[in-house]
């Protein structure tokens, strides 16, 4: 019996059409747009000015707070302007616009292909390199990695869990790196284990990627402290709390963090970035991105510089197809719809997905028939039908009593609803309001 999480979950068709496409370098464009808000915390502050010359990997934005992160240039050239530019949702964010000239890298970056296996850095050095290189969680939330690797006082991690589940349909970027760069990822995992001071690491991969599992196991046999676990295919396996449940059978308490269950979860892409930062001195300014869709001419995986506009990314797969109606940055279950096609990629951009009207247009809503399917599929054991009703009329105390704050916004309820009700749309708003109330409440 393969491992998986206990409650709920759905089985959307996985559509991994770009799984066979090897990672290629995306051509460097003539202009990039590097946002200062690429992480969870407050936006970074530019440390360059208009007219400055920058190199690839040069620090251009410095953190402004605890949750903030460093930002590096992804190209070499001249800073054309620093101004608010609309992001994919149309909201203005401070952005450094760079006109590209050549491709001159910071000389400190080790660009050779040799794999550096020996770990010489100390725990503190590893954490500092990760912070200086601006590594953020590449699983979607963009949580600064060095903070996640520094448990709060009194808390101790027992396990490091590497997330290679890639449970979202269509996405193949994690699959490709596990296939093409397994050793680097495993070294990255060992670096993080050293930083966390843990003795055991589980690497969870869903069973629909047998080649990735085999390639990881070929190298993991050298490292007995890392165990590659094949997981059953079920969405949202890659959710932090679900992965912890699946791999080590622990439940993160409500309103708690993974560290409360003695675990730290990192995406496999983050592990690769950590390897590159610590062993190769390379900041996070490029990432692996899947550009796919059933209607696009091609489906490919690229190594893409941060700040590349979405419309330019589409050109690489044959342009925006006629029947395309929706662009998604990320996967179809939790990704963000792109309202502004001229917006640029950020560190955590893992995919650009093109969907047709038939695939994505919402059907007319009908009456709730109280089938309970939303309750059945909710991986957090909530009652989405009830939360939806309460959120629509802003019944805050009842929302809180029914644990709306536990919702992980995985979308299983909306995905499965036979009445096509916008359950999660409303629940998300209610959750936001309740969490704001909880935060403002004095702690006991």
């Amino acid at each position: 019996m393969k491992k998986t999480f206990a409650l709920g979950g759905v089985h959307p068709h996985d559509h991994k059409i770009s799984a066979g496409a090897a990672i290629e370098d995306f051509p460097v464009l003539s202009r990039v747009y590097i946002s200062m808000a690429q992480h969870l915390g407050s936006p970074s502050e530019p440390v360059v000015a208009k007219g400055d010359r920058v190199k690839v990997g040069q620090l251009i934005g410095k953190p402004t707070g605890f949750m903030s992160a460093c930002i590096h240039s992804s190209v070499s050239g001249t800073v054309a302007s620093i101004e608010p530019v609309a992001d994919l949702a149309g909201n203005k964010v401070n952005t450094i616009i760079i006109d590209v000239e050549g491709d001159e890298w910071e000389p400190s970056i080790d660009r050779s292909q040799t794999i550096v296996r020996e770990i010489t850095a100390t725990k503190e050095e590893i954490l500092k390199r990760i912070a200086d290189c601006g590594i953020v969680g590449l699983g979607g939330a963009s949580f600064p990695t060095h903070i996640k690797l520094t448990p709060p006082p009194g808390k101790k991690a027992d396990y490091l869990l590497i997330n290679g589940a890639e449970c979202e349909p269509y996405l193949t970027s994690d699959h490709r790196i596990m296939l093409e760069m397994p050793e680097q990822i495993l070294i990255g995992a060992r670096l993080m284990m050293k930083a966390l001071d843990v003795k055991k690491c589980f690497f969870g991969v869903e069973e629909n990627k047998p080649d990735a599992i085999a390639s990881l196991r070929r190298f993991s046999s050298e490292y007995p402290e890392i165990e590659v676990v094949s997981l059953k295919k079920k969405y949202p396996q890659g959710g932090e709390k679900q992965l912890i449940d699946a791999l080590i059978g622990r439940r993160v308490p409500a309103m708690g963090l993974p560290i409360d269950a003695g675990a730290v979860v990192q995406n496999c892409g983050t592990a690769l970035a950590v390897y590159e930062a610590v062993q190769k001195n390379k900041p996070l300014f490029e990432g692996i991105v899947t550009i796919t869709g059933d209607c696009t001419e091609q489906q490919r995986n690229f190594r893409l510089r941060v700040g590349t506009p979405f419309n330019k990314m589409l050109d690489a797969v044959g342009g925006l197809p006629e029947q395309a109606v929706k662009l998604i940055s990320g996967g179809p279950m939790m990704g963000k719809a792109v309202a502004n096609i001229e917006a640029a990629s950020v560190k955590s951009t893992s995919a650009l997905l093109v969907l047709t009207e038939e695939q994505t247009k919402r059907k007319p809503q009908t009456q709730c028939i109280r089938c309970g399917k939303c309750v059945q599929v909710c991986p957090m054991g909530l009652e989405p039908y009830l939360l939806n009703k309460l959120a629509k009329v802003s019944r805050m105390d009842e929302l809180e009593a029914n644990r709306v704050q536990d919702c992980i916004e995985c979308g299983c309820c909306l995905y499965t609803c036979p009445a096509q009700l916008p359950l999660l749309d409303n629940i998300r708003v209610g959750k936001g309001q309740v969490i704001r109330i909880l935060r403002s409440r004095p702690k006991k």
Partner: protein, 334 residues
Amino acid sequence: MRKLLVSPAPHIYSAENTRRIMMDVLIALAPSLLVSIYFFGFSAIQLVVVGALTCVGVEYVIQKYLLKTEVTISDLSAAVTGVLLALNLPPNSPWWLMLIGSIVAIGVAKMTFGGLGQNIFNPALVGRVFLLISFPVLMTDWTIPESWFRAGVDATTGATPLALVKEGLAQGLSVEEILANSLDLSYFQMLFVKTGGSVGEVSAFALLLGFAYLLFRRVIRPHIPVTIFLTIALFSGIFWLIDPNQYMDPLFNILTGGVLIGSIFMATDYVTSPMTARGMVIYGVGIGVITMLIRMFGSYPEGISFAILIMNSVVPLINKYIKPARFAKEVKNG
């Protein structure tokens, strides 16, 4: 510039919809329907057609002219109610009985509450119980009508096994004597062919086939029917072990009467059953206990209809107090 669609995640949806679910229920009812047509011929066809058409018609008229809302008959939920009600009537029922039952089922039990998803009680059962109370003679006349397929067989008055047992016990006969005298039934017969009973109760096997289909298509979860079966088996088993001459055995109790059709098709109605697995178990146990209480100590030979309706009224309470198993029982403080 192309106008793109923008919506919150998720961006893909399952193919589930109400109409498809109702269609699956109709498909699951098909085996029972075919068996009943084989045994009861035109009478069964007439009941089902009148039932489905009346239910759909009443819903259409109420939505279009009375409530002036969107007409939703195409979701097939009214048709399911009609077919279920038809399968719950005696085979020899006149067509107008079916008509009255359908009007009550849709008009009173469903639309007055606001239509699909709002009703507290199972519409088909409300229709059936209304008829049972208003027309007790017609509703317990188990005469088997002539069938094209079984021409030549004289119409027989086949009382239901449950009624025969109840009468027999009331006359002071022992179970053995009843079985020897009037009840010429083997379990094989009960499983495949049953004399006496409602249209849809003829073949337990056909109903179980429908159950398997519903489970396979994931339309229903097994919790409710299985807990009802287990409760009835346990409840009747205890009494049977105490005195096998006064009480029927568990298998007889499950296979006879409306237990199968009731627990598979009526108790599992989405709208009137609990939302959570735990709630479903409580609901199933309640139905099983009430059914057996009525069968053993009540004046009616069969009680599952009443049992389901009584438990329907408890469902809002169950939904309020029985919460699903949460991911995390512990709440982090501070």
